[in-house]
Amino acid sequence: MISLSLLLLILPLVFSVITGFLSGKNARASAMAGALINLVVAGYAFTQFEANTSYQFAFLSDWIPSIRAKFHIGIDGINLLLILLTNLLLPVIIYTVKHEDSNRSGLYYGLILFMQFALLGVFMALDALLYYIFWELALIPIYLILLGFSSQPDFKTFVKFFIYTLAGSLFMFIAILYVYIKAPGGNFSIDNFYNNHLSEQEQVWVFLGFFIAYAIKIPIIPFHTWQPDTYTKASTPGTMLLSGVMLKMGTFSLLRWLLPVAPLALATVTPVVIILCIIGIVYGSIIAIRQKNIKTLFAYSSLAHVGLISAGVFALNADGFNGALIQMFNHGIIIVGLFLIAEIIYTRTETYHISELGGIRNEAPTLAFTFLIIILASVALPLTNGFVGEFLLLNGVFQYNQWMAVVGGTTVILSATYMLRMYQRTMLGLDRDYTKTILDLGTVEKIMVLGLVLIIIVTGIWPSILLDPIKPAVENLLNIIKIVQ
């Protein structure tokens, strides 16, 4: 019996290779089939998951004996939701790939599936070296997707993204090597990393090494400068991969690696880090208000939302952690929904500019209605999933420091400002030249959008389907940090 986690990891790789050799419609069909099959496996794993602290469906084998690195993957409460999220989003992302470039489409779909393989590897890895390999591996397909398949390929932007994230990762690499050499177990296993017996001084350095990598990937201010340009210039599937899943690599790794590996450093660094996160929330929101391009607006809104997620993580309490995990999932669903709608509008009107749009509701009511729900989720209206996450996060930050929660809480007000303003100007009002003949959602589009809307509402009304499985793992994580502290 092959372990479920290994199956989840291998399937995208297999389909990626197969798809790479196909072209045109065959490639699309094969990619979609791969994504759906993996989604079914992930769904099955989710239902079979038991709410406890162990690594389930784990797979362990020797990998590089000479340095005692092992191939160890598994699923627990910390990565469960992200694995589900990755597999949920992949069909949507594959769907948004444009048909034009059909002679290279095999490569495109292949890279997207390969990206899925790398992302799942990052989430499931329980061995620091393996984790680092997957972490870097994820950079290669996304870079090629950006370079080869963007609407406005721009070497400078993308190479900035690549070098920036690579630079961060290399600091993390030094930190991993340091812990590996100094920790008593002399191997890369996650248990050895958690019980590394480093002094407080050493842990501060290790913390910084890890943190730079994550701060760039998330991004936390002032490491965010690569993000808006990259999001805007990338093709929509690339942006979805980046914003929906890839930036969760950073926030996830905070919980999985950073906090438990360097808990002694937390007392020193947390205040600074939380302030950076809070600045990011306000800064991202204010800049988003001024944006004229829908995609850039979403990019800055994303900056604000992940700022709140990171702030919740560094609040170091159960609400913060639960909120962060839930909100990572929710934010992935919402932001991909937003970019999906943006892409749908773009394919019909060929513009992302807010000023050129308007009155879409008159011609395409379903589009406008579903867009509204996704936007309301993004501004955290109760009964949507965004509310659950942001409430828990703000509650967590509040327990840490009331004033920070007050400042961070402005995100809800500010996001309502820019999101609803954007909605009003694109969907309501009179028809414009670009939108006169806009079509409503097609059948497949409906399935995609309504699927996302359904997830938004169901997990908004009934968050315990997501919360219950992760609670034991979160408590366990808190214990690990508290005991060492």
Partner: protein, 457 residues
Amino acid sequence: MTALIILSLLGILVLMMGLFHLKNKVLILIIPVLIAGIFLNANEYGLNASYFSQMVHFDNFAISFSSLLILTTTLIFGLCLQQYKTSKKPVEDIYALIIFSLVGAICMVSFNNLIMFILGLEIMSVPLYVLAGSNRENVLSNEASLKYFLMGAFASAIVIFGMTLIFGATNSFQLDEIRNAVSGTKMPGVLQVGILLFIGGSLFKAAAVPFHFWAPDVYQGSPTVITAFMATVVKTAAFAGLFRFMMVAFQDISGLWVNILVIITIATLFLANFSALSQTDFKRLMAYSGISHAGYMLIAILVLNMNAADALFFYSVSYSLATIVAFGIFLTMKNATGEYSLEIFKGLSRKNPFLAFGLVIAFLSLAGIPPLAGFFGKYFIFTSAIKGGFLTVVIIAIINTMIGAYYYLKVLNMAFTKDVYHSAPVKNHLLLDAVIVFAAIGTLILGFFPGLLQGFI
């Protein structure tokens, strides 16, 4: 040892076959014999045999590295067909010289006596002087040959001078006797001078700063396959030879020269990577990239223990494989367009996705991005260095990895842009494809299962 004899005979045979004007048909003989050579050589693994009154010693280190050298040369012969397929002039002499040069390289990694080292160095170098100028009508090729010869002759003289000083201080050319002589007693000052001269001369062949000035010009002027040969076989042999000498003879007194070598390493890394950033010619880029890789390999010589030997071997394998893929693809593009600039890669992903994919693997491996072989090469070197107490050097090397990523990505960017540089169809030979596939798959496999090449030494 069997391989050494067979290859020498092969070289002479190929030279004589020039009488029959077989041209590229001699490859049918050369490649199988080289492949057989790899197996015969690998067969002696673990025997630890010495020959010629202990002038050469085929221990595991020598066997591993000489197998790598023969393998690399075999792959380079695979590229030769693409380079010389339309040549009107005879090519047997060129092929024979490459084989002789390989024989010299094998002597350099298996020597047990300094005389043997200098013999190997000269057997390797003299054919190379000729090969660098083998494109006789090209002014650049002639320039390359002359430059390489003058500088190389200097370097050999410096190595020999260093050897004589070492002999003066230790009274022996035999490595183990030198080791016994230097341990314990207080050493005369000439020993340090001798060691430094020896290091300097060897680093000339390996193209490390400040002995690197010849590399860009010579790489640019020489025929492409010869450039590939210099970048892989010569560099590997120079490093393996230097490592062997230092490891066996001077491991106990590394304090004498380690500080200077640290400075050389750091200077090599920074200078090469910064110079590479602004290159527009592929071969010059590869020259500076090669110099920067010399910097990483120097770290292994700093550490100087069994871990480092293992790491150096892995690094050499990964570097050689990736470099050959890069040169193979460049050769195809150059034949299609007749130019040498990086621009010729523009639009490769549209014209020939297969080659574009090979380029991605090769350059990301050179840049050290996981999970390709190049990453683990760097990884093993860095861990051995941290364990050896060179944390600062490792951090500097990692910073250089970032700088390096920029110029490798620049080339990849060319391949994935929308505009196409040249509409000429890209044709490549089946043999070249085979070489690229072999080296690229090797790079991938070593990236996923680096344990395969561990613990050979």
